[in-house]
Subunit: 209 residues, 2 copies
DNA sequence: TTTGCCCTGTTAAAATATTAACAAAAAGCG
DNA sequence: CGCTTTTTGTTAATATTTTAACAGGGCAAA
């Protein structure tokens, strides 16, 4: 396997989540069209994605749920695990902390950071929150690979730079401000306002046509 | 103009945000490469997007900031405005409320909903929060077009169905559970866990190659 | 004026992503 | 057994998105 498309990676993550649900329900096998229906995609796309990762199901019974979960894990998880921190413990930071709590085994939340001295020093969802002063030192100390930015837009550029300098490997930026990182740092950005405006646009045009 | 690509719409929203900043800084004209650098894209892409919406800049001075803002507004905004509600006032719901507060003129937040009786009845960021009982009635009463779902995954299916039945036109689903809606309702889904796992994957593979 | 540079707008090509099409294999059934 | 149904795996076709290529216009400096 050489080069998985971005979109396939995203779907693999979602397949796994769906499969884990199936497993919990005692389902041992699943067909491509079942998996497809749980997402918003076609059976062909499921089969194609699985082809790309080299998994092959049994012809009449579909895919083995357990096996597939493990294989997807091999593909997208990092064997040694990766450590994550949330920078900015506003509402969004909290939300992410909660979502995250004890879900993944291969990604572990290690720290959070906030400028507010009332927050720094406390723990949220069992994860310690540090002051911004400690950003660089804790990232190195705790060997944090991925930073999730949920700070105000004003400080986005600054925080990104500090993360990069501290040796972070990946950034997930939820700030509406786009940041620049060197090539060896993977950057993913998502902007809620843009999504909302997109929905608005298509609501508008749906009504027109 | 016939059929703008999804990606172009997203970028238009971001161009506008960048342009508004420029305007606030007193900048009257901007080059495609400047606008490009603010996002993570190339100047060609900017020019192509603007070509698609039929805007044409002045040759040596670039694009007129004010004009472009207005034109983008004409494209993506709905003249009469659209009303929005947040369903589920957990941390994520709050975060969205705050982000949103007084930003857009053509999208107005009208209501929020929560099952928790302590939350229902209060106001957040100046927007009233209603109990889930009122979901259908308030959506009709306040003429709400777009619903942002920030409820727990368990109730996603149910909430989506109720929104659709109440006559909503667009849904932005932040639940990790994918929902089904009829074709006349525009659906946009975003899953934070998937994004995080995607970052993890590319951090892993960056290290490998 | 003329040369060179730096823009834009647009068409063409390349890269990505999705959808269609279909052979082949297993199972059930008459 | 042969026929039908169902489902996979894969290749081919289509659609979408990005990137490259380049003509042409205006400004500035020589």
């Amino acid at each position: 396997m050489k080069h998985l498309p971005h979109k396939t990676i995203e779907r693999l993550s979602q397949y796994r989540r769906a499969l884990l649900l199936c497993l919990a329900n005692g389902k041992t096998h699943i067909f491509s069209h079942e998996l497809a229906k749980m997402q918003h995609i076609t059976a062909v796309q499921v089969r194609r994605d699985l082809m790309l990762i080299g998994y092959t199901g049994t012809l009449r019974k579909g895919y083995n749920v357990k096996e597939l979960i493990d294989l997807i894990g091999n593909i997208i998880d990092c064997e040694e695990g990766l450590n994550v921190a949330v920078i900015g413990m506003g509402n969004l930071g909290h939300a992410l902390m909660n979502y995250f709590k004890g879900k993944r085994t291969k990604l572990s939340m290690k720290a959070s950071f906030d400028t507010n001295p009332e927050k720094a020093g406390k723990s949220y969802s069992g994860i310690p929150c540090y002051s911004f002063d400690k950003l660089e030192s804790k990232i190195k100390e705790e060997n944090i690979h991925i930073g999730i930015m949920t700070v105000p837009a004003d400080s986005a550029t600054d925080v990104a730079e500090r993360l990069v300098n501290a040796g972070i490997k990946g950034i997930l930026n939820y700030t509406p401000k786009s940041v620049n990182v060197p090539k060896h740092v993977y950057l993913e950005e998502y902007d809620m306002i843009t999504s909302l405006e997109k929905v608005a646009f298509f609501v508008k045009t749906n009504g027109e046509e």
